[in-house]
């Protein structure tokens, strides 16, 4: 058989990949998350993390925070395509590392180990607002809030101490000072 000669076109040059945090305000109606997720999967965009919850019970507005990666062109498309969706009210877009934006992610870790190990765990988590949610002789469940990358690293370090289960919320974001997103 001849080599496959059917390609639509050759891909052009690929720009630099950036990480962005995109915040979307949507009507909290049936299927709205599927619309957002479908837009990403259908157009080949990435979702690294996704956090959703209703923030306005009266107006039924949900706030979705999406961490994604792409070239500047792709990020622009994501913004524009999101804005076209009927239940979307507004979209805010931040580049990772922007100064006036706060990012936080919450994680729960379950670590197996005796009290000695548990002390080590607490020490390791000290910088990240640790809260002990559950404790037995053999195990500990600890909650931390930190940046995504910090939690990545922490999870890696805790592995050595007997981490057996991790649950993370995905990043949420908010502006510093009195300003709000618009």
């Amino acid at each position: 058989m001849a080599k496959s000669k059917s390609a639509y076109s050759v891909p052009g040059k690929i720009g630099k990949i950036e990480r962005h945090i995109i915040v979307v305000w949507v009507d909290n109606e049936a299927g709205v998350l599927a619309r957002i997720a479908g837009l990403f999967s259908g157009r080949g965009y990435n979702i690294e993390s996704l956090a959703v919850a209703e923030v306005d019970k009266k107006k039924h507005i949900s706030r979705i925070t999406i961490v994604t990666e792409g070239t500047p062109q792709v990020i622009e498309q994501i913004n524009l395509q999101l804005k076209k969706l009927v239940p979307v009210h507004k979209v805010a877009d931040f580049k990772r590392g922007e100064k006036d934006i706060l990012f936080r992610e919450l994680a729960l870790f379950k670590v197996l180990g005796n009290s000695k190990k548990q002390e080590k765990v607490k020490k390791m988590c000290k910088k990240f607002n640790p809260v002990i949610l559950d404790k037995t002789n053999k195990s500990i469940v600890i909650q931390v809030t930190a940046l995504r990358a910090e939690i990545d690293k922490l999870a890696l370090d805790l592995k050595r101490l007997g981490l057996i289960s991790t649950s993370r919320t995905g990043s949420v974001a908010m502006t510093k000072g009195s300003k709000i997103f618009n």
Partner: protein, 588 residues
């Protein structure tokens, strides 16, 4: 207190308030309450298709030739899934469609009930928006919102899924208007700013090698847009080329028109696009069939892009001036501002662009649409040319299927008015043309409607001939019959070492007899000498006609840019075929 009426009646009330005259559809269990209500609403006529895809394309043809949204009514399950191709087609080509689908009763949703499917899930990526109506009191708001979403901004299809129990339930009806207005978000257009217009005019004035590149957005913006476009092109004296979907917005026989551009566009249009110093894109979307290799697309030009859809701008090609606007609105303000400040532009500019026009004339001398005619066998290009010559004096509407015949129609049939050319460009749906012609004929009674078809495509929706006969729609199905899936065969010849894998249809029906069995008229033309007479006969018959035009089986569609190539590397004809490098073949 408003009277309580059934969901089915609410549907018709909303359709009446939206001034819907025709709905295209097919009944079934989950829409029976709506079909039952049909008899009470005499102003709305239902066209019964033979397949929901056919109903969908007919609604598209109706919409594209009338400028009004097409309405589609289908049942749950297979009714809805059969409509998906038409919805996707409308999504890709920006055709306003409102699809109403029946659904199993709400208490059965999620139980894998008979003829249940996740219609809103399936159609989510191929509609602008869709709704599952769970409360009859939401129904009127959703229906009116559906029409608004379908017809505003960049038009497109929407779907409203109505469970059967909601169709029976009683609720209030209210006419809602402008629901979307509150949150624009690029879902509807704004007025162009003066600063944008001035920058636009400045670029026009500085250019010595300009070109207008216009698309379906001009047609979708309404007949006014086409009028303004003609005015602007004549004011500037610039050359103009059009995409497949934009044909008819500017007269096809005008000397400033360079013909269609893109993969099968003319030599002059594609070279002008490549070499220009100013590209003015109005209502087109830099589709891959137009741009070819993106990195080498028109390297030396400033680019202006006017589009109603913000997400179309910068998606494929970076531009220097982007204006999000309705085409008609923009052209109107632009012309006004241009005239105020540049009374003598055309004269002063003639000199500046004269070298450019000389160059264009040189490209034109290549006569890239030429073909070697024959007196023994009908060449498909010749057939389209004869059809054009014999129908150009009446207001003719052309639809097509997808493939070689579609490109020959686009190349050789010259359109002078918008909304006369209905073809599936984005999705490339074989089987589009015949049902679309039905919708076109419904919207334009008494006019000549011809589907320029290929024998392979037309068999995909052939059953709709029965619809044409039922409603006495005298559509003409003009089949360029070469017994091959011609475009597939062409690619196999040029790119797959003539391995004609599965592209020949070994058992075709006798189209003349097929026509007769449907109760319409069949005509066959085999030689060039009888072609004109037979075409005239076809036009004179006031019934649906299937015209079997037996053409050269080996003819290829040229010129052609192998995709992945820049615009200035076209293949002009069979004599050049041997020159495609191996590297070039990979890129198509």
């Amino acid at each position: 207190m408003p009277k309580l009426i059934s969901g089915a009646e609410i549907v018709f009330k909303a359709l009446e308030d939206q001034k819907v005259d025709y709905i295209f559809g097919y009944p079934g269990g989950a829409v029976l309450p709506i079909y039952d209500e049909l008899k009470n609403h005499k102003s709305i006529k239902h066209i019964l298709a033979r397949h929901e895809q056919g109903a969908g394309h007919a609604a598209e043809g109706y919409a594209r030739s009338s400028g009004k949204p097409g309405v589609l009514l289908v049942t749950s399950g297979p009714g809805a899934t059969n409509a998906v191709t038409a919805l996707t087609d409308a999504y890709m080509d920006s055709v306003p469609l409102v699809c109403i689908s029946g659904q199993v009763p709400t208490h059965l949703i999620g139980t894998d009930a008979f003829q249940e499917c996740d219609t809103t899930g399936i159609t989510r990526p191929c509609t602008k928006h869709n709704w599952l109506v769970k409360d009859v009191n939401d129904l009127s708001r959703i229906l009116h919102l559906a029409f608004e979403v379908a017809t505003t901004g960049r038009p497109g299809p929407v779907l409203v899924d109505i469970p059967k129990d909601i169709q029976f339930k009683k609720g209030k009806y209210k006419y809602f208007k402008n629901i979307l207005k509150k949150k624009l978000n690029g879902k509807a257009a704004r007025k162009p700013l003066n600063t944008e217009l001035d920058k636009f005019i400045d670029l026009i004035k500085k250019s010595s090698k300009p070109i207008f590149y216009t698309g379906g957005g001009v047609i979708n913006s309404g007949p006014e847009a086409s009028k303004y476009l003609r005015e602007l092109v004549s004011l500037t004296g610039f050359p103009i080329t059009s995409t497949l979907q934009g044909l008819g917005a500017y007269p096809g026989d005008d000397p400033q028109f360079l013909g269609m551009l893109g993969m099968h566009g003319t030599y002059e249009a594609n070279n002008a696009m490549h070499d220009c110093d100013l590209m003015i894109n109005i209502g087109a979307r830099f589709d891959d069939r137009i741009t070819g290799k993106v990195d080498e697309f028109s390297p030396g030009s400033k680019k202006i892009h006017v589009d109603i859809d913000p997400s179309s701008i910068g998606k494929n090609i970076k531009v220097d001036l982007a204006i999000v606007s309705d085409v008609s609105e923009l052209l109107k303000s632009l012309i006004k501002r241009f005239k105020e400040k540049n009374k003598n532009f055309l004269n002063s500019n003639k000199q500046k662009t004269s070298k450019w026009w000389e160059q264009i004339d040189k490209w034109r001398e290549k006569k890239s649409l030429n073909f070697i005619n024959s007196d023994k066998i009908i060449k498909p290009q010749h057939a389209v040319q004869r059809l054009y010559e014999l129908t150009k004096n009446q207001d003719t509407f052309i639809t097509t299927e997808v493939g070689q015949h579609q490109m020959w129609a686009a190349q050789h049939y010259k359109f002078n008015k918008p909304n006369r050319w209905m073809t599936s460009g984005g999705l490339g749906t074989m089987g589009y043309g015949l049902p679309a012609a039905i919708g076109v004929q419904i919207a334009n009674p008494g006019k000549l409607v011809v589907d320029i078809a290929g024998e392979a495509s037309v068999l995909m929706t052939m059953q709709e001939m029965s619809t044409a006969v039922q409603y006495r729609l005298p559509i003409k199905i003009f089949i360029l019959n070469n017994e091959y899936m011609g475009m597939v065969r062409q690619w196999q010849e040029l790119l797959h070492e003539r391995n004609y894998s599965e592209s020949y249809t070994a058992a075709l029906p006798d189209f003349v007899k097929l026509a007769e069995s449907y109760g319409c008229v069949g005509i066959r033309a085999k030689t060039p000498s009888e072609l004109d007479e037979k075409i005239k006969e076809m036009i004179s018959i006031d019934k649906p006609v299937i015209f079997d035009c037996v053409v050269d089986k080996a003819e290829n569609c040229f010129p052609m840019i192998p995709s992945g190539k820049p615009h200035n590397q076209m293949i002009l004809g069979p004599e050049e075929e041997e020159e495609i490098s191996d590297e070039g073949k990979v890129l198509v």
